[in-house]
Symmetry: C2
Subunit: 310 residues, 2 copies
């Protein structure tokens, strides 16, 4: 079981990626103490919506990366990138940088480009993960066939993301089982917690053969948040599967996040988006549509299906 912490990357959606350097330092310290396997430092060249006007973990400076690697030599660092934000030639600057894993985001629409990026990064001797987003909008057999192509292009890991926070255990089991019929490389799962199912889904993923799980301190992350690193460790502890993680150190990290980053999100709205399997990217569109029609947003979403969101 390999735990990949995404506090600095996915948590960035809550503060426009504006982490101060000493906050990054402190978070890395907590994660090193907790002994998580991988730490995602941020995006390279921006999230899906681009990097304009965003803070430091939206576009990791490679000198900064080297600086933190020197300070935390034991941490395995991860960066995530969207092919549309980086030309394939630009990938060359990542050569010989202390990056232990590069994750390439791939949607159905960007499949061919994504596969090219995987191939190129692999030729540069990087460890590469092909991360398929919005898995619920793609049939499990289709996504598994894409993953097989990623494997053939050299991917070391394939991930599927519950981007809308709408998965439930049976659904996760269906995806993992199907994917494992197609690929021989390790499978990873990126949960979201809109339905309070991030833990249940991650347990199910692992029990069906997934090897990697993403989590963040206190669940800091987009929309309904992520799986809480410390909660997942407590499950491993309870079931005698914890061989390396330090639960109390993870809780120190959680306490730091609670103290420093108090973002309020609309719990019920995120939950309703999870129930409807709507992308969180449409949250503004939906709430605007409701408001302009004088609908109560939550009543409207609960009782209707809104076109274009799923």
């Amino acid at each position: 079981m390999i735990l990949l912490d995404v506090t600095l990357r996915d948590g960035g959606y809550l503060n426009q990626f504006n982490f101060k350097y000493d906050s990054i330092h402190e978070i890395l310290l907590h994660l090193e103490n907790t002994n998580v396997d991988y730490v995602e430092l941020g995006y390279y060249k921006g999230p899906a919506s681009g990097g304009e006007g965003l803070g430091v973990t939206a576009n990791i400076n490679l000198d900064v990366l080297e600086y933190f690697k020197e300070l935390f030599p034991k941490i395995k660092f991860v960066i995530m990138l969207h092919p549309k934000n980086v030309s394939i030639e630009e990938l060359e600057v990542l050569s010989n940088k202390p990056i232990d894993l590069i994750r390439v985001c791939i949607t159905e629409a960007s499949l061919d480009q994504g596969l090219e990026y995987v191939k190129r990064l692999k030729r540069m001797n990087h460890k590469v993960s092909a991360n398929f987003t919005r898995a619920t909008w793609i049939d499990p057999h289709i996504i598994a066939s894409y993953m097989k192509q990623a494997e053939n292009n050299g991917a070391d890991i394939v991930y599927f993301a519950d981007s809308n926070g709408s998965m439930y255990p049976d659904k996760v089991a269906e995806y993992v089982k199907t994917i494992l019929q197609y690929v021989n490389i390790p499978v990873g799962f990126h949960p979201h917690n809109n339905l309070n199912l991030a833990l249940a889904n991650s347990i199910t993923a692992i029990q069906h053969g997934a090897k990697y799980v993403d989590s963040s301190l206190n669940g800091l992350g987009k929309g309904g948040g992520n799986l809480e690193t410390e909660i997942f460790i407590s499950y491993l502890e309870r079931t005698n599967q914890n061989q390396k993680f330090d639960l109390l150190k993870a809780f120190e990290g959680k306490d730091y996040i609670i103290k420093e980053f108090s973002y309020s999100s609309d719990y019920l709205l995120n939950l309703l988006f999870g129930i409807k399997d709507y992308s969180m990217d449409y949250m503004k569109v939906v709430t605007k549509e409701c408001e302009s029609n004088n609908f109560s947003v939550k009543d409207y979403i609960y009782h209707n299906n809104i076109k274009g969101c799923s």
Copy 2:
């Protein structure tokens, strides 16, 4: 699937059962709007530790019960009792009262007495549930054999409680499957949320054949809290199993609870008790022992096994 709300009974551990009558009224209104199947109004004659100095839902006055039944005729009311707090003759005063279900708490030590109470209440034509507490401390086959005896004594339902908040899905599955090999009456599950597994455990219980699940608004309840009524409904909603509950009304109830009842509990301490399968009743003993020895309570519990707690 039958949802039994325990906000007023289990939530009472957080305010010494001191609910004001207009709070009870408002909570019942939210629960009626949500359309939960059963509402537990409180204990009759006190919780396990007795009822001295406790508030109204620690010992429901039968006139009060009749008053609320008149106000909310659609609600099915439940009371819970511990045999050691009520003599078997006293049960007669419950005759012809508007009680839709009586739950008798049974431990291994009180088995024979508990079975007698089940038999007596059944003879009085009550609907009766035999509720076995601290299930993790009793082997599943043993607890199932006790439940078979309860069935033979007339019980309509048998429950097992994750009193220590220490169960995880595989464990819940083991209990439900074993119990169903022994009994033919419906099985219920009372979760706690110390390990953030109340939802995962309840889903597992239902999928393996349990029919009743206990929950409370906002999870209001002892120690790590209960399964959140509104979260369980959202799961049913997402998986197209919700035929009767109103999610938005449940959230109105949750909001009321958040507004009126802000009790802080030590999240990590409850979680550590769940990991260790310690009874929450020993929390004071354990923290005192650690403090008198100048141990850091959490470090000590995490790294040691404390005798007498499990």
